[in-house]
């Protein structure tokens, strides 16, 4: 039996009227996006799952505050960014320590191999996490969710100009942090 497709607006309206099934469908649709955003924000899979669940619980509790004229995804992402930031503050275990672990467990044989792929990933992740929350949120939504500046502005409730300045700041900060390490290796690989 085929189930007729229900629009997101219809699902949101039903969820606002208390239908948990409709809300579950919204969770299913947006789970991946929210998990991705919170993971990029906090860099830890377990914290990300907790933050994503918290995001949807907060969305359910405050669904009546959501206005149908705006993007539901953007509204969810705003909650997700806040949930990830709060969760990170509560949990003190943040990814950067993983780099030291990796270096101990997986030493490279030759001096020419500066970093393994895993180590490089960990370094980049560490650099992302070292950014201020506000800049990191803009960077994550742009780089990993491919959102336009206007969508980011809408999601984070900030002006487009602020999106641009935060993104410039984030990228500049990342380049400075990675310039002396990962960038050199990437350049070497391309030569």
């Amino acid at each position: 039996m085929t189930v007729p497709a229900i629009s997101e607006t219809e699902l949101v309206t039903r969820a606002q009227n208390g239908e948990r099934n409709a809300f579950s469908e919204l969770v299913r649709i947006h789970a991946q996006g929210v998990l991705n955003v919170v993971y990029r924000m906090c860099g830890d899979a377990q914290i990300a799952e907790d933050a994503a669940q918290e995001t949807f619980i907060q969305a359910w509790l405050h669904l009546s505050a959501y206005r149908l004229q705006t993007s539901f995804r953007n509204w969810l992402y705003r909650i997700a960014v806040n949930a990830a930031t709060d969760m990170l503050r509560k949990e003190k275990r943040i990814l950067p320590n993983a780099l030291e672990d990796l270096q101990l467990k997986d030493p490279q044989p030759g001096p020419e191999a500066l970093f393994s792929q895993r180590e490089r990933t960990a370094l980049v992740q560490k650099a992302i996490l070292s950014l201020p929350d506000a800049s990191r949120a803009v960077l994550v939504l742009r780089e990993y969710e491919g959102m336009s500046y206007h969508e980011i502005a809408d999601a984070l409730d900030i002006p487009v100009g602020t999106v641009m300045s935060r993104l410039n700041y984030a990228r500049k900060g990342l380049k400075e942090k990675l310039e002396q390490t990962v960038f050199l290796q990437v350049e070497a690989e391309h030569v």
């Binding site: 208390g18 239908e19 948990r20 579950s24 469908e25 969770v27 992740q125 350049e187």
Partner: protein, 203 residues
């Protein structure tokens, strides 16, 4: 303007967020400025480096949705508007009941005063409060003077008018209140049925 570096526009250029005029300007500058070209390449390198960071394998969306569903509280935090609406909603029957009691009491007191007045207990002190038969029949008497009513018809008209002025008013008010209450009850029942239907679907 072409001589000035466009580094501040390179992020927006990379993200495809420049308007056509800005785009033309940046592209023209990039063809002749190695500093800005290097900066753009550096930004592109950073972007591809960021894409290298993989996301872990998360729980499937279906399983995740089921986990969230288990944690969803049954009662939703009501907003202040919703709370105000709920309070107002339950004040409707309370208000109707209060009005009904007030009207019933007023007419009951009026009847008692009317009887007392007719018996002469109040000695005319409460004329302004009650509808005495003389004032009730004023309009009928006026009609009688013009020959519209006469004899028994006049008495009948006076009695009808007294009924119209007192009992009919009371009945009209009470029926209105009853209708309003029944409407509220019907809406309440419909809302409850809809909520029950929602819970049934969830189960």
């Amino acid at each position: 303007m072409s001589n000035k570096h466009v580094t501040e526009w390179l992020n927006a250029y990379l993200d495809g967020e420049l308007n056509s005029r800005q785009l033309q300007h940046v592209e023209a500058h990039l063809t002749e400025c190695q500093v800005c070209q290097a900066e753009l390449e550096s930004l592109e390198r950073l972007s591809s480096l960021l894409q290298e960071v993989p996301a872990p394998e998360f729980t499937s969306p279906e399983r995740f949705a089921a986990q969230v569903n288990l944690r969803l509280p049954h009662e939703r935090a009501a907003t202040s508007e919703k709370k105000a609406f709920e309070i107002g909603w339950w004040m409707i029957p309370v208000g109707l009941l209060g009005t009904w009691i007030f009207i019933g009491t007023s007419f009951f007191v009026s009847d008692i005063l009317s009887v007392a007045n007719n018996l002469g207990v109040l000695a005319g002190a409460s004329d302004w409060l009650v509808f005495d038969s003389a004032s009730q029949a004023d309009w009928s008497a006026a009609l009688g003077q013009f020959g519209f009513l006469s004899g028994n018809s006049l008495d009948w008209a006076a009695a009808t008018e007294a009924f119209t002025r007192t009992s009919l008013l009371e009945i009209t008010l009470q029926v209105s209140i009853a209708l309003l209450y029944l409407s509220w009850l019907a809406i309440w029942w419909a809302r409850r049925r809809r909520q029950g239907h929602g819970q049934l679907l969830e189960g």
